[in-house]
Structures are given as structure tokens and as C-alpha cells.
Subunit: 230 residues, 2 copies
Amino acid sequence: LPGKKVLIVYAHQEPKSLNGSLKNVTVEELSKQGCSVTVSDLYAMQFEPRATRNDIVGCLHNSEKFNYGVEVREAYKRGDLSSDVIEEQKKVQEADLLIFQFPLYWLSMPAIMKGWMDRVLVEGFAHQFPNCYNSGYLKNKLALFSFTTGGSQEMYTKGGISGDIRYALWPMQHGIMHYCGVKVLAPHICFAPESVSEEERKEMLLAWAQRLKTLWKEKPIDCSPEWYFK
Amino acid sequence: LPGKKVLIVYAHQEPKSLNGSLKNVTVEELSKQGCSVTVSDLYAMQFEPRATRNDIVGCLHNSEKFNYGVEVREAYKRGDLSSDVIEEQKKVQEADLLIFQFPLYWLSMPAIMKGWMDRVLVEGFAHQFPNCYNSGYLKNKLALFSFTTGGSQEMYTKGGISGDIRYALWPMQHGIMHYCGVKVLAPHICFAPESVSEEERKEMLLAWAQRLKTLWKEKPIDCSPEWYFK
């Protein structure tokens, strides 16, 4: 949609990977629609995943006993978070839609992306209990998890050895995005791209480009336990 | 049990935290039993969570298109993984029991610990499809997830806003440990230690010390979907 702002948080080491191509397709398709698209290329940025004292500029609220959650909440209020975190928060603040593009590692995000969640979505900025879930501070935004898997689609079904893929989505979509008030669009999953032909990988890219054409008409999923565990 | 080897993978920034105290209690109690205990203190080690080309020493298998999973699998075979990863793999190999001690961040591990999983549990070392789950390469080991939460116990129940805490355990216990063949003991959860009195925190430490006394008699949980989602 013209005028919409999109942030792609992208975690793959190789630009020529399918994840890299999916990210490129997103930039191209959404730009063509007139959206303004920003990419946080986490590996290229050498994004810091560790939650440490370095995230607070200057003095600590309590230097006797370091409490990361308290310190970043206080530093956020004072404008004293480290510049890389502030930079990402600005991108989130401006965005109407967050797209997370990554390969599934261990039924979850790669650590570098988990670190983005841990460090950027600070209390006071993204949420502040009881302002969470439907009243989280990012409540007018959308998020979409777009990822590739190692295993095949059958492995990620209810009776499959890795269980329904929706089980793995619970901490990411519900525990993180929904907690911050973000509405979640259906995930986009490319199963086992390394086990299929070049032709099929091209079809995966086309299918994603196709979905993006009508993305703004999509309704968010019902982010309740029933969606995940029925 | 005398002679048993235990690896504690510990992720907290502050030695004086409850997580720090829980870790100390584990070291003391298990040492007293005659176990040999090793601690990987991830923040103190400044453990690298990012999965990058730096994990492979020397030349790449395919430098035209970097594939992390393939490269670390091949580097493992050649003995060419980076020294910090090899060091952790040795500790895992020697251990009978792995204890993960951490504060729950976003219904999951802190990024620094997720990075330990991403980088240490390499294909060929910990698993190699179809050698996974009951035939994973770490199949004679036990694991235990011991963590603290921000929210109260009621929030992490089936009807609570964060859902049954077992939903959050699925990717960690089943997706990672069980995949590698590790049998999982019941998790140890200290709910909302920051919201209770000093007295209650002391009771939490005592309860953990008490559990450790009979830990070697415990039976692993049945790591099936029913345990998590009944």
C-alpha cells in the first residue's frame, strides 16, 4: 500500500541464500507498491545479541546488583540506551509492518535475532505491564514471520517428529509480538528449500511475491491458544 | 551421585542474582555429593552467540555460497571448528547431566544461551538425521532447564495470559535436547522472584538444594506432545 512503512529484520549470513532472495523479493515488491522499506541486516550489521551493561550509557540505576530489565527500563526513560538499540527502536516506531526473515534454528530464531528481541523491545518502549497483549505499546503495527526450515512439512505436523510448526510459533508470535500489542499475519514458511530442486525454490520465491501483492488485505490471525494448539 | 559429571550452562549478568545463587547452590550441593561440576558462565566468558563464518577455521567447503549448517558439519569432521565451540563440545561430551540456568526472556532463553545451542550442537556431534530424538548422539545424557520468570505462576497457566509454561518448554526441551537424544528431567521454575520477599527467595534456594539431593533418582519426563499440550 502506498505510504506504508515496512521494517524487515533479516538474519542470514549469505546474500545468495533463499532467505536473502526472499528478503530481496520483499524489498522489490513492497517498494513497487509505494511502501517505504527499511532492512536491518543483522549479520551484516554484526548486531550484538548479548544483553549486557553496555546497553546502558553512563551510570547505572543500581550498580550494586545489576538487573538488566530494570536498568534498560530506566535507561530508556532517560534516553540513555546504547545507540544501536535506539536506532532499532526508531525503525520499529516508524514501521506499520515488521517482517522477520530467517532460517529456523532449533524450532526458534537464530540467536542474533533473539538478541534483537531481547535488546530492542524494552519495557516502556514496547510494553509496560499491564499494558501488554491487546494494550501493548506497539498496538497499531503488524508482524509477519517468514522463515525456512531444514525439515520437511510432514515433520512439522501434529503427528510428525517435530510437532505442529505452530507450537514453535507460540513463543515468537504470541510471547513476543502479541505481548507488545502487535497483530500477527499468518506466517510464511518455506519447507526444506535445501532438499528441493532449483525450480521449486524459484516457485517458492514466486509464491511469496504473489502473497505480497495482496498482503495489506490480509486479516491478522486470531492469536489465541486455540490457533496454536486447537 | 559420586563420579557423575555435570555441566552447568549459566546465563546471568549478575553473580548476586537469584540465578547466580541457584547456580552456586547447584555447584555446592552436587560437589558435596562427589560429582564433578563444570560451569560455562556465558556472560563472563563473553560467549559469542552469532553463527558466522568465524566458527570455521581455515578454508570453507563452499566459499561461493555460505551455508552455516553444511560448513560447521564439515568443519566438525575435519576438526576445524573454532576453539570456543570445541571447548564447549568437550564439556558436553564428558557430562552426564546438563543444567541450563537462566532467566526466561520472551518465553525462551536469553540470546546468549540460544547462541550456545546454535553453535555447539553441531550436526555430526550432537545429531545426524535420522540419528535424532531417541537415537540422537547425546543419548546417554540428561538435561534440566532451571529458570526464573518475570511473571507470576498464574500468568503461565493454561488459561493465563502467557499460556501454560510447558508451551514455552517445547522448543527448548523437545526441539533441542530431545532432538539430540538427551533425556529431560522436570524443569525447575522459580516464578517471579523479583516480586516476592527476601525470605521467599531464600525458600526458593532451599527448595532447589532439596531437590538436588535426590536428583539422580528422578525419572525423565515423557517428552511427548502430550506432556506439553495434553
